[in-house]
Symmetry: C2
């Protein structure tokens, strides 16, 4: 992979710093619960289809007492999308070269009363340059106050003005995080945005605001519910709900598809899958 | 749905009779193991996208002591594929109307030493009429003698001459039952065939021979291994292996895609998913 330009390097550094804040906070929650679980980090390299170096990433994974499985991946990749796939990607119809740097996080929680969560931020370059991302809350057993707190945090991250646009990005999440064949949403929503072009600094600042709002609101929800009593019926509900989550990720998720189609690291891409799931 | 023509009615009747033989044999295996598990059958109706009746099917499901979850679905559906999807289906590029009758079976077994299995037979009509199907063995813990017995049974079903063609259909299965993003096969193979056009009677007879060969060879394997001792490590291996199976079905399987795209019954289509699965 060739050297990063200043915007690419800034985006990668910001995503890595966010990753470090998230991991430190999640490890603190484990410590507060009497667990010594820590993230392990595994670097991986990507080869372009022609065999040349195509970047790579670092897969972080923690299995603990509160976080049954949380994966956070920062990847920085470049190369060619291939002709057919390139036609489906913004700005790559006539030139399949691409660059992407991003952070992707999914947490599946031990306690069925604690919501699972997803957060993803990315900076993509083809003949266009754009920012995308989102975060959504996925409670097996939903609580209105958690949903409201999470949405309020997302609204706050959007409140700094453009490119933030809460109503639009919330509606986009409702549209995106939907399982058509079941006619249900996969969770209780959040925000989703993509193809945001324009001033780099304000877009990156908006993305990091989303990441930090995710972190503070989710950490508060986890601390509030991590010790809630639960029974076998709650676990059954959680595991069946995780089956729906796996369906969404494997059948519809654009990030999963992008990763598999561009020869990304399979373990890092499928890190989002639940540690355990059931289908009736 | 309009009345079936004689070939359509004959195919449906043959698939239903095969279903009855399979269910009776699997229930016998449960009885021999001291379990009173029996299949339950749930009829379902399909509506065409325009709201008119589009056929339906019967979903059979048993959860027992040997069969942790076995689903067998016979469906007979007709209507329109829709313009976009029709272009991807044999003979439907210019006329999206279709008819399909078929049997589909997936068994996930309690004992990790007993292989999971899949079998499917279908008769499809667009502007063309063709037969397709296959069966493949999916052991979490493979045994060469089981693999050989299953392949020998498939070879036997093909031995009656055309349309049977073991070498071609075995290679087709190796090609089809493959998980590209992991670079591994989903199981130890079997046979796969599609778009077989020609004399209806000999093609249907071939399909039923495949179904009965599947039944006798699989039942023998199950009876041989159903009481084999196993430990936690075997179960972990089984559950992780089932995660791979779910990935294949949700990301690549043509039948699953066909069902979801044609508004089939979601529970019947996703009956193939494992009762429990894990992802590391």
């Amino acid at each position: 992979m060739t050297e990063l330009d200043p915007e690419q390097a800034a985006a990668r550094a910001a995503f890595e710093a966010l990753r470090d804040r998230i991991c430190a906070e999640f490890e603190s929650i484990e410590s507060e619960t009497g667990s010594d679980a820590r993230f392990t980090f595994l670097p991986w390299d990507r080869l372009d289809p022609d065999g040349s170096p195509g970047g790579g990433g670092v897969r972080g994974l923690m299995t603990g007492a509160v976080f049954e499985k949380v994966g956070v991946n920062v990847s920085t990749v470049a190369g060619s999308l291939g002709e057919e796939f390139g036609r489906t990607i913004h700005g790559a119809a006539d030139d399949p070269r691409f660059f992407a740097t991003g952070i992707s996080l999914v947490a599946h929680m031990m306690n069925p009363h604690v919501p699972a969560v997803h957060m993803n931020l990315r900076f993509l370059n083809t003949t266009k340059r754009w920012h995308g991302g989102g975060a959504d809350l996925n409670p097996p057993i939903p609580y209105a106050e958690d949903t409201e707190a999470f949405h309020a945090a997302m609204r706050g991250a959007c409140a700094g003005g453009p490119p933030g646009d809460y109503d639009r990005f919330k509606a986009w999440a409702d549209d995106y995080f939907f399982i058509p064949h079941r006619g249900v949403h996969r969770g209780v929503g959040g925000i989703f945005f993509d193809h945001l072009e324009g001033d780099f600094d304000s877009h990156l600042a908006f993305q990091i605001a989303v990441g930090d709002a995710f972190l503070s609101s989710f950490a508060a929800i986890v601390r509030h519910r991590r010790l809630a009593p639960y029974d076998d019926a709650d676990v059954r509900r959680q595991l069946e709900w995780r089956g729906r989550y796996a369906e969404f990720n494997l059948v519809y998720d654009r990030g999963t598809l992008f990763g598999l189609k561009t020869g990304g690291n399979v373990d890092a891409i499928l890190m989002s899958l639940p540690p355990r799931a059931t289908w009736a």
